[in-house]
Amino acid sequence: MSAGAQCHHEEHLPLLDGFHEQYSVHLDKFDGPMDLLLHLIKKNELDICDISIAVITRQYLDFIKLMKDLNLEVAGDFLVMAATLLQIKSRQLLPQGEPEEPEIEEIDPRGELVRRLLEYQQYKEAGMLIGARALLGREVFSREASEPFLAAAQSVEGPLEVSLFELVDAFRALLQRIPAESFHDVAPGDSLSIADCINEILSLLQERDIVQFDDLTRDEYTRERVIVTLLAVLELCRLKLIRIFQGCGDGPIWFVPAVTADPADTSEV
């Protein structure tokens, strides 16, 4: 099981020799650091639950070095995993748990990585099984022709079918088409925009008839949040969409919709 660990010095050179032919062809086959790790584990015939971190780390770093030698861009994800491996390795080198605390089960520093690898392996396999299915439009086909007598009668509109992504994408496409200055708050920083806040208030008022100012800032009581909420409330008030009132003195601020949601009623507003 730990044969790899014992003979890794002997293996080292031949392994690197093989690297070029072996990997340069398959470089793009590695779908990220987890995939590469699984490959190394399988290649070394290691038990995934008892991998030799020393062997794997060395081969992993060799691989990254090779990618660099071949002038391939090494994605940050690969470096993150390298750091994880080195961290586990260094934890393994630390003295084991104190003898006076025998009841504390020794925690295997590899545990988290092994769990991730096992889980990743499951999804990788599931992906292959899914991909091996007969796909509609590739191996399997449905009927394309429509009945002539149905085609004539097809003017009735059915339920709408559109995805959220299409909606956002349509908006994005539109923004790319029009000059940037038409929009003031298209790409605000990370801050909450007034428009978002207005949407939030409008949707709250769809659910209930009355909303308290504090309800809007309870989850996130920051200066920015309060200011943005206030501006949103003022804007809605200016548009005569809500009415604001306050209980006695310092009491809570409440607001209610100023108009009913029913479009039929708007004629007399």
Binding site: L79, F141, A170, E200
Partner: protein
């Protein structure tokens, strides 16, 4: 009972957009003799006639096509309404503007789209995707539009807050930014130069 060739021919006719002529079938299946194909076709026609199922193989417009049996047309016409209607690009765009910029007036929507939106807005109102929130307190008192409850239902959203922002969609295209680290502390006794291993350039 059903020959391999009949099955192949069936699959070709089934997937064709328009009636498939015998000539075309022979062309597609050039490893088979024309006579074989003709008798397989005859066999298939007989099978569907004898079976009396939902559809049959008929020769129309110089080709072969599966068609529902005329006797069943009163049933078939019942489900025309199941056909879903897709949003037109202009409807989708207008809806997106209303969703992301509400409360908004028709003039503001038109300013953004650069075209008249009266018709589209009306049809969105009819489809209950958009509703009138009120009137804006400016000269002319234009109507203010917003999205409806049905809008949230169609898109499976809990509330308007759950609308994905543009930034979130754009973020999908961006590579994650790894913080630049000076250098990882690696083991000094390593046999190969580790500085080269982690290429932070």
């Amino acid at each position: 009972m059903n020959s391999e060739l009949s099955s192949i021919i069936e699959s070709l006719i089934f997937t064709a957009e328009s009636p498939l002529s015998t000539d075309r079938i022979c062309e597609l299946l050039d490893e088979f003799e024309r006579d074989q194909i003709k008798s397989a076709l005859a066999e298939t026609v007989t099978h569907y006639q004898g079976r009396g199922g939902g559809f049959e193989l008929v020769e129309v417009a110089g080709g072969w096509q599966f068609r529902t049996r005329p006797a069943l047309h009163s049933y078939v016409t019942r489900h025309i309404k199941t056909r879903t209607s897709k949003f037109s690009q202009s409807a989708l765009e207008t809806l997106a503007i209303v969703a992301y910029r509400q409360p908004i007036t028709r003039a503001e929507v038109e300013h953004l789209r650069g075209v008249d939106c009266g018709g589209v807005l009306k049809s969105l109102l009819e489809k209950h995707m958009v509703r009138i929130l009120g009137k804006k307190d400016i000269p002319g008192r234009p109507l203010i539009y917003g999205t409806s409850k049905e809008f949230l239902e169609i898109f499976g959203l809990k509330d308007l807050k759950s609308l994905p922002t543009l930034r979130e969609i754009q973020a999908l295209d961006e590579q994650p930014q790894y913080e630049r680290q000076e250098e990882l502390q690696l083991e000094p006794e390593r046999s190969f130069p580790l500085e080269n291993v982690l290429p932070f350039e």
